[in-house]
């Protein structure tokens, strides 16, 4: 990112090559439309190019994922009236899953870890992450009591964390 801040086009191109699949994939999962996912990808990377200072350190993967989610949420909001949920892109990225661990994780490992969760927890977490809706809407969509949704999400995230910890020790 330092080279991108210095307007190094080659460095930016390398960044794109490394992360465009992830950015496009998040956009596609959230929007369900390849054309819109392309637009989101363009928007995210142009933001990277024009405002690299928005990245304040920590895990780049986590940061670019949050930026992509928020960009996709903007698109969802423009298509329908939705409560404004948002992931603060600047939020503490000093969590225990550091960049080095992200590098060692991949989609398959995440899917394997998710598969260890009971279906009722996994489903709510995946829908919550990619659908861009509130927990109240999740409860309505799944016909589940609100309190149950909250408990399952918290329990599921803890369980997922433990599963990831087992897969990627230290």
């Amino acid at each position: 990112m330092e080279r991108v801040s210095a307007r190094d086009v080659a460095a930016f191109e390398a960044l794109y090559d490394a992360y465009h699949r992830l950015v496009f994939g998040i956009g596609l999962r959230m929007l369900g439309d390849p054309a819109l996912a392309e637009d989101v990808t363009q928007t995210v990377f142009l933001k990277l190019w024009t405002a690299p200072a928005a990245f304040r350190g920590g895990s780049f993967v986590a940061w670019v994922s949050r930026v992509t989610r928020n960009c996709s949420l903007d698109v969802l909001r423009s298509r329908a009236a939705r409560p404004e949920t948002e992931i603060p892109a600047d939020l503490a990225l000093d969590g225990a899953l550091e960049d080095a661990i992200f590098v060692r994780l991949d989609a398959q490992r995440l899917r394997d870890a998710l598969a260890t969760l009971p279906i009722e927890q996994r489903s709510l977490i995946e829908q919550g992450f990619f659908a861009g809706v509130t927990h109240a809407e999740l409860a309505r969509r799944t016909d589940t009591p609100l309190g149950t949704v909250k408990t399952r999400i918290r329990s599921g995230l803890h369980r997922l964390r433990r599963a990831l910890g087992e897969q990627v020790p230290g």
């Binding site: 142009l46 600047d90 503490a92 969590g95 995230l157 964390r161």
Partner: protein, 264 residues
């Protein structure tokens, strides 16, 4: 509801926030809780990084034609821009924990707002804005500390009221009216900006009465967010309302109410 179950309920809210499921008005309250509670902060750190990792499940191959098209489109913009803009200025990297300094200030703002009925409320959900206003908020907090009116326990009580599952919630177009025990709060997040020289004013009507009594005035922050506790006994109130009034408030509403909400 016991303290333990209330605390567990608030930690569930932290998990929802980590996954990005809370509407902004509720999220702001959880941010304040996280900023004032070490266990909640640790929980947030753990769960948010786990939630972030979920994004990796979307990392799948993209067909080569699409990849080439997207890259060509993007790089054309970048190459056209590169020579014109030149190197960007160096920047300082803020420590990640710095965000929570902003959140702490947010909490300070919330404390101040809730202890000073009728004054402006500044509930920040934006780091940059929170940092810009740091000096002002610290000054406000110093004032509230001098007044000796509130303690950290009071703040916890207030935040607990607002996010508690056993609170009664009454939806209005601009947010929620929250009632817990005998306390009434407005948690509003979509208030239009006010014309110069005007404020929002709360009104209450006693149970069985249609006569509106003037209550506090308040001004939302730049994001249209305001959280206020009404100086009333919820057990005696049947209806609450808000209208736009001239600075200083009015004895009776002079404009069409922004909302009128029976508490039933």
């Amino acid at each position: 509801m016991s303290d333990d179950s209330t605390r567990a309920a608030m930690l569930e809210e932290v998990a929802l926030y980590a996954l990005g499921l809370l509407p902004r008005d509720q999220a702001a309250l959880v941010i304040a809780f996280i900023a004032n509670d070490d266990e909640a902060y640790a929980e947030y750190r753990d769960l948010s990084s786990t939630a972030d990792a979920l994004a990796l499940t979307a990392d799948e191959p993209v067909d080569s034609a699409r990849t080439a098209r997207m890259k060509e489109r993007l790089m054309a913009r970048v190459r056209a821009d590169a020579p014109r803009r030149g190197p960007l200025a160096a920047r300082s990297i803020a420590p990640a924990r710095g965000w929570f300094v902003g959140a702490g200030l947010l909490a300070a703002a919330l404390v101040f707002a809730l202890i000073t009925f009728g004054q402006n409320v500044s509930l920040r959900s934006d780091l940059a804005t929170a940092q810009r206003r740091a000096g002002t908020l610290q000054s406000q907090l110093a004032q509230s500390e001098r007044s000796g009116a509130r303690t950290r326990n009071d703040l916890t009580q207030t935040l607990t009221d607002l996010v508690s599952p056993d609170a009664r919630r009454y939806e209005v177009a601009q947010g929620t009216v929250v009632v817990r025990s005998n306390r009434v709060y407005f948690a509003l997040s979509q208030l239009p900006a006010l014309p110069r020289g005007h404020v929002y004013q709360a009104w209450t009507a006693a149970k069985g009465s249609s006569a509106m009594q003037p209550s506090l005035t308040f001004t939302p922050n730049a994001d249209g967010v305001a959280v206020v506790q009404l100086p009333v006994d919820a057990d005696k109130v049947g209806v609450v309302a808000v209208s736009v009034e001239p600075d200083g408030g009015s004895k009776a509403p002079t404009t069409t109410p922004t909302f009128i909400r029976p508490l039933s």
